[in-house]
């Protein structure tokens, strides 16, 4: 593929404030005319990335090219991009006409051409005859239309949209989504759209970039991202899903919830731990029968408009979410079937916590910036570098942060059917992964404790 195919080339962009890394080696290549959505939860770095593209922020390292030209150090007013802001950012002292004409007036475009282009832009966003209105008198949706007109009138090569619909109500949001998609087709401009709304991303985009913790998790078409999520984060973030621990027994056979299932995945090796993802709509539920693949009891059943959302508890203690057009009563015995092609098997990113550590003496090791007591090691040299493994289930979390050996905050919670898999960020900025059946909330400050016998030391 030739270089000229890409309108935007972001190479190895990193951004950090003081000791906090917001973007970690992000690379992204966008084709001309594409509708790209950067999707992620708040704080994942998506807005920072957009600001770097617009020129309002600078990357700590990395290179940005637009249409082949290096614009890494070009100030925002000289970049061939325009932005639609989340809070509209219209100029309150100017009327609709002057807001839209702002960019053209700066470029000293002739007055009659400005007139014509403003009228055309207003028509494009469905706001004909609003020229002389005070922008403060417009509704949120109308203000956002003016903001879009103000950006596209400059005929940018790339239009950046920073959660443009987040402040609108649901109905208006749906309408605007369709209009944006039409606009994208008509204008032929490359759109880079930032949102935390996965449904919006699936509806609008040609390509979705899923981000988390400053890193790109997956880039792909909406169908790819939905059907073939690369890891449990993407699976959890895009749509609803059941994510379970499993083991690839051999090619095309995966074991989870205590039984073996046929699947279509190959090449994982034998007896490899994996994550299994099953979409709630892919589980077929029926009244109890002997021909089901597994059984369960309905725990809850909620009507969601088109379908019912049910949780089913299996005899060996797994909760499975199921969506179906038919409702089953709470307490009813049911049986389930899953098609082999609907079982998505993913490599586990890790099977236990692994830390870089340093021996202090025969019974102490330093990990996560703190001394931990460990089982006695023979012939220890002080300061010896070691690798330390701690199983997910062996990390204790305490309410009272003073009770722990380290303090951390809960960053990400994944429900795995019968337990929670938490990502806890320590004060030093290291991640520790914890399996627990206790319920914690996102952002909880917790004490972290590890028993000496659970610290497994691997020495070179």
């Amino acid at each position: 593929m030739g270089e000229s195919n890409f309108i935007i080339e972001l190479s190895h962009i990193s951004k950090s404030y003081a000791d906090k890394t917001v973007l970690d080696d992000v690379s992204l290549y966008v084709k001309k005319g594409e509708f790209v959505t950067i999707l992620g939860p708040s704080g994942c770095g998506k807005t920072t990335l957009l600001k770097i593209l617009a020129g309002f922020g600078t990357a700590t390292s990395g290179e940005i090219k637009i249409a082949g030209a290096d614009i890494t150090d070009v100030p925002p007013h000289l970049r061939p991009v325009n932005t639609v802001f989340q809070r509209y950012a219209l100029f309150p002292h100017l009327n609709v006409y002057d807001n839209i004409a702002f960019g053209l007036k700066l470029k000293k475009v002739k007055q009659d051409e400005i007139d014509a282009r403003v009228r055309k832009a207003l028509k494009m966003v469905g706001m004909t005859d609003y020229e002389w209105r005070d922008v403060n008198s417009l509704s949120g949706g109308q203000q956002q239309r003016v903001a879009i007109a103000r950006a596209i009138i400059n005929r940018p090569q790339v239009l950046l949209l920073d959660e443009p619909l987040a402040a609108l109500d649901l109905k208006m949001r749906k309408d605007m989504q369709m209009e944006l998609k039409d606009m994208h087709k008509t204008l032929g401009i490359t759109f880079v759209y930032v949102t935390h709304d996965q449904e919006e991303a699936l509806t609008l985009s040609d390509t979705i970039v899923v981000m988390s913790e400053g890193k790109v998790q997956q880039i792909g078409t909406p169908t790819d991202i939905y059907n073939e999520p690369v890891n449990s984060f993407v699976a959890d973030f895009i749509g609803e899903s059941n994510i379970l621990n499993g083991e690839m027994v051999r090619d095309r056979v995966v074991k989870f919830m205590g039984s073996e299932f046929e699947c279509v995945d190959e090449g994982f090796g034998e007896n490899t731990p994996v994550d299994v993802v099953i979409r709630p709509e892919d589980v077929y539920i029926m009244a109890h029968t002997d021909s089901g693949m597994f059984d369960g009891v309905v725990q809850s059943c909620i009507f969601k408009g088109v379908h019912y959302e049910m949780t089913v508890l299996t005899p060996n203690g797994y909760e499975i979410m199921i969506q179906d057009y038919n409702a089953f009563e709470v307490g009813q015995q049911v049986s389930m079937i899953i098609k082999p092609s609907d079982i998505h098997v993913m490599h586990k990113e890790r099977v236990c916590n692994t830390f870089e550590g340093k021996m202090i003496d025969a019974t102490h090791v330093e990990i996560l910036g703190t001394q931990f007591l460990c089982s006695e090691q023979p012939n220890v040299v002080e300061g010896e570098s070691v690798k330390v493994d701690v199983a997910f289930g062996k990390v204790e979390l305490m309410d009272n942060k003073e009770d722990g050996q380290q303090v951390g905050d809960v960053r990400f919670i994944l429900y795995k059917g019968d337990h929670y898999h938490l990502t806890v960020r320590t004060a030093e900025g290291e991640n520790i992964y914890v399996d627990t059946t206790d319920v914690w909330d996102d952002g909880d400050i917790v004490g972290i404790k590890i028993q000496p016998e659970d610290i497994v030391i691997r020495r070179a």
Partner: protein
């Protein structure tokens, strides 16, 4: 009954507050040399105030006062607005420090400001006169302008500056075309406030005016009173100043009320 006493108390308070100025205003419409003698209604003092002659020095004092007030208010409006933009863009800790540093000169007694400026000018060797008075007034007016402009900046959608850059404005153009129109009401209020503070000031002025014969209204009245008895023309003058300040104050209040109403209308 309770209501009656509440009302009476209010009126009593207002009467005590405004009695002095009312007496001056009433006695400005009579010719008597000594305050307190009523010798019939006359506007002679008003006409003689502006016909010069004997009162040439009073008129030049008024002129000096106005020039100093306008120049000082203009300079402090510019400096204060720039400072406010700077403070607004600071984050966290630094912003609190700068805000406090800005507030201290306002709480500092004028007499201290006056003495310290006097000492500064003398030690640096600046000849005292017009320039030093203006400089001194700029110094104590600027923090008030900052205080008027900051709330406007806080109300502003912080994205609009970036939006202007995004649409092709250079940083300077963005400030002129977007930022200044947004904070203009605050700048106007700040200017009016600085103007009245400057007209009003005595303590700082007396220490920075020097011995070159320069007089402002406040120093003139002070000298006049010390010479024995106030010049009768000061009565109409005080009245005029009071009415002017009153009008300015009402203007500021009406402006801010209108802004509030507009904000409320937008809020719904």
């Amino acid at each position: 009954m309770k209501r009656f006493f509440a009302q009476a108390y209010l009126w009593l308070l207002l009467a005590i507050l405004y009695a002095p100025i009312l007496i001056i205003a009433i006695f400005s419409f009579t010719e008597a040399k000594v305050l307190g003698n009523w010798t019939g209604f006359s506007t002679k003092l008003y006409t003689s105030l502006f016909t010069g002659g004997v009162h040439h020095s009073l008129l030049s004092a008024i002129e000096n006062t106005l020039i100093i007030a306008i120049v000082a208010a203009a300079i402090s409006t510019v400096l204060g607005s720039i400072a406010a933009i700077g403070i607004h863009n600071l984050r966290g800790h630094k912003r609190i420090v700068m805000n406090t540093l800005n507030n201290i000169p306002m709480l500092n007694p004028d007499i201290i400001t006056g003495i310290s400026l006097f000492l500064l000018f003398v030690s640096v060797g600046i000849t005292q006169g017009f320039a030093t008075v203006i400089l001194a007034h700029v110094i104590f007016c600027t923090p008030y302008v900052v205080l008027c402009v900051l709330p406007r900046l806080q109300q502003m959608n912080s994205d609009i500056y970036e939006a202007a850059l995004d649409l092709g404005a250079t940083p300077m153009q963005a400030i002129y075309k977007v930022l200044i129109p947004e904070i203009k009401p605050g700048m106007i209020s700040g200017f009016i406030l600085a103007f009245t503070l400057s007209i009003d000031d005595f303590a700082v002025t007396i220490f920075t005016i020097g011995t070159g014969g320069l007089e402002t209204l406040s120093t003139y009245i002070y000298a006049d009173a010390r010479k024995g008895g106030l010049t009768p023309e000061l009565r109409p003058l005080s009245t005029i100043i009071f009415v002017t300040v009153l009008v300015l104050l009402i203007t500021i209040n009406v402006r801010s009320q209108r802004a509030n109403k507009k904000k409320k209308a937008l809020g719904k």
